[in-house]
Amino acid sequence: MSLHTDVTSPHHYHKVVDCQWACPAHTNVPEYLRLIAQGRYTESYLLNRESNVFPGILGRTCDRPCEPACRRVRVDGKPVAICRLKRVAADLRDDVTPYLPKAPAVRNGKRVALIGAGPASLTVANDLLPIGYEVVIYEKNERAGGLMRFNIPAFRLPESVLNEETQCIIDMGAEVRYSTTVESLKSLLDEGYDAVFVGSGAPRGKELDIPGRWDPGARDKIHIGIEWLGSVHFGHIDKIAPKVLIIGVGNTAMDCCRTSRRLGGVDTKVVARRSRPYFKASPWELEDAEEEGIHIIENHAPKRFVIEGGKLVGMEFERLEWTEANGRQTSTVIDTVTIPCDEVILAIGQDNAFPWIERDIGINFDKWDMPVVDKTTMECSLPGVFFGGDSAWGPQNIIWAVEHGHQAAISIDQHCQGLSVAERPPQGMHLASTKMGMHSWAYSNDFNPSSRATMNHAELVKRFSKISVEVELGFTPEQTATEVERCLNCDVETHFTASLCIECDACVDVCPVNCLTIAPVAESEAELRTRLSAPAENLAQDLYVSEALPQTRRLMVKDEDICLHCGLCAERCPTAAWDMQKFALVIPYAFAPSDTTIPVTV
């Protein structure tokens, strides 16, 4: 069996770029960080926008799957602050309007309806408008943005950023029907659209049906998290009682507790069933809440609402102890405690609900009464109807909604052209040497040992004075300059040409992290892993295995796990068998098929 790694298709090199691989939209992170390093904020923003559509919004709110994946975590513990660097590009860019695609003067005659004006639908519009589609968006509220507008508090996402990034898509020529609720999918289909995209989100917050929930003295003091955040956004709610309990510990709970703190909930507590390692909220959101004096209580399961004298006075919880056996967590009740409170906000999850989709129009629903949606094409069982964002498979995050939108746009385009939606356009790649001369590379290959930059926050007093005061102040120019240099440039790949190798060992000897080995032929990758210069125990990271080397028929093997992309192997290679080559993944979009997209290059 040949273990030789195929690097002629993008898979291996793409996986080496951990951040890009982890990002649902496969944003070309290293490239945009280099553009920031060069002060080319506008180009950086546009490169970002190509894949993730909302760099300003995501630079503040993204769930950042790229960061836990970052190679820097494995090297020195802390990822590059990718997300907040994205914000730097968005904040410091020039006007991008002249560079954005526009709808052509002559449309292609196809009409597409999008339900909901959230990130998924707006991405579909962004991808289809430039190639001549007529796009009609149905939005139940008066403004576009969906959950980004109504559920993310203004102290995390300023309205101006949201307005600009949503409006620029609408300005490409979408028709938005605001304050228009779709009551029936059947009648919408009857209007003769060539395709329909459902991007209506997961708008129904989960209930907590325990004793006391519907007591007349309590029910007005118990709120559903996302509805309550929406009411605060619209100004229907502008204060809350001092003692507030937030039930649940996801990111919505974090937005609720911090909003509560600003509206008068000076004693706001978050109560979780599980212990901290199992919290759903991102670690940085927990930290930000705690910085604002929010107390997070672990291992408490809600039992009942306590009502005295016809008034909500507290909640009773069972204190739990969790034990693990056979990989399963089980809890035992230690005792029961009552925590006093004036109001309660439930933030324990969201569901989709489709009362407006008729069950007899050809859309299959599963046993949970959710539509069956194809994971690749985003199409349901009724051809021409597509789902994306939270409405497809329940709550995820904005960046997933964007990727759903891109894929749905490709499907819609193929559907409207009479092509099979199942046949996906392939990804492509570019590889180009970065060698400039002796000791000179077209990227900053010197390892920067700085530690991760810490975000500066507005003072607490200032924060609590007004709900729209943005907490994060962004990175300073100095912080930005250092943080971009922490990036290891994983997209500058160690590209090996076996036929040139003279097996002098120079690369093996110089590699600072011992990731190279010239190994005898092995039967399996597992066997090969036992013979390397340093332990190769991270099975999530692939090995690169060369063809047989010319002189001894041995194999050049590289463990991709810890490689710093410092280029020393190529620097010390006398025959240029190793070269540092910049990899660019070519991602197909509806507006640009895979063979025409050329990413912005340095």
């Binding site: 590379w441 003279i502 097996e503 120079a506 340093a534 710093l564």
Partner: protein, 351 residues
């Protein structure tokens, strides 16, 4: 960037030796030799050998003369002592250092120019004195620093980079050492660390001068088609003589007495080794046989590698000279310099 530095980051899973050091703790400055130079592989092999031996870096002294090879003492064990001496004079300087402090491990690094031309006499006498040291010859057959002229180890008929053939016979340091009575003679190849590292470890621990001739190709001036010291030529003509490994001195393990062809012996780490009685074969303690073998290989255009000769009973310089047991640096002043009276008494003995 205009120059390269090796990032201080290391692989988090790197193992540590008995002193708590990783292999990277035995590194030195970044090499300024040509990319692909065999000498850099020798340096890497030394780093590995010293790390595996858990040699305390401050108990080693790196000695060198002049040449590409002699630069390499800067490229490993930056915490060790070092002396970069005059061209060809490394053996004498090392003899002096060893006379003064016999407790250090001496690692002398020389080349075919430094040792076989200008320093040949120095090398010969260091061998005769059996100075306790590891003596490496990074042998590439050319003078690299002066742009690639043939050295004294270039083979007859091997060509320069421009195609001119060498007409003079080579000096073979292995045969030279055997004739001069060396107690440890080995040859290896920079491109074969599996063989080289154990030989270096054994050489460092040898009680006497351990001469290791290392074919170490010069990528810039002597890695072409007509070369007999290129990576390709060496790989095609290498004949491994004995698969040598080095076992450090530990408590004695007694093999059970048995008549069976295979005896099972439990080792210090709990593992077992099965010894099969070897048939009559190569004996690295037979000087005549070693000499004949190397000559025979030479005539067949082969390069004999491996541990070629060892005499563990040889007496080193201190034993022969009956010097004081304690290193001179630690000797109390009254003993080191016993005064005019003692000198006069000594002088009297010569009259």
């Amino acid at each position: 960037m205009t120059s390269i530095t090796k990032p201080p980051v290391r692989h988090p899973g790197l193992p540590k030796n008995a002193l708590g050091f990783t292999v990277r703790d035995y590194e030195g400055a970044m090499s300024t030799l040509c990319a692909g130079c065999g000498h850099d592989s020798v340096t890497a092999a030394l780093v590995l050998a010293c790390w595996e031996l858990a040699l305390p870096p401050h108990r080693a002294a790196k000695m060198s003369g002049i040449g590409c090879s002699s630069k390499t003492t800067a490229y490993f064990m930056k915490q060790s002592h070092g002396f970069n001496s005059v061209h060809g004079r490394m053996p004498s300087v090392t003899s002096g250092a060893n006379a003064a402090n016999r407790d250090l491990h001496y690692i002398g690094i020389s080349g075919d120019g430094d040792s076989l031309s200008i320093g040949l006499g120095q090398l010969s006498h260091a061998i005769r004195r059996n100075v306790r040291m590891l003596y490496l010859i990074d042998n590439n057959g050319v003078y690299g620093l002066t742009k690639g002229q043939f050295s004294a180890s270039a083979d007859i008929g091997s060509t320069s980079k421009k195609g001119e053939a060498n007409l003079q016979p080579p000096i073979d340091p292995v045969l030279l050492a055997l004739t001069l009575g060396a107690t440890f003679v080995a040859r290896s190849f920079s491109g074969d660390k599996a063989q080289l590292v154990p030989i270096l470890k054994a050489g460092i621990m040898h009680n006497g001068l351990a001469l290791v001739d290392i074919i170490s190709p010069c990528v810039t001036f002597n890695d072409h088609e007509g070369s007999t010291k290129s990576y390709k030529f060496t790989r095609e003509h290498e004949v491994e003589l004995v698969a040598a490994d080095f076992v450090p001195l530990r408590r004695e393990v007694i093999a059970p007495e048995t008549d069976a062809a295979v005896s099972v012996v439990t080792m210090h780490d709990g593992s077992t080794v099965r010894f099969r009685r070897t048939p009559e074969g190569y004996d690295p303690t037979d000087r005549e046989a070693a000499y004949a073998h190397v000559r025979a290989c030479q005539q067949r255009n082969e390069v004999a590698t491996g541990l070629l000769f060892i005499d563990e009973h040889g007496q080193d310089m201190h034993a022969v000279s009956k010097t004081v047991e304690m290193p001179l640096v630690e000797l109390p002043y009254e003993q080191l310099c016993p005064g005019n009276g003692a000198l006069q008494k000594l002088m009297e003995g010569f009259r």
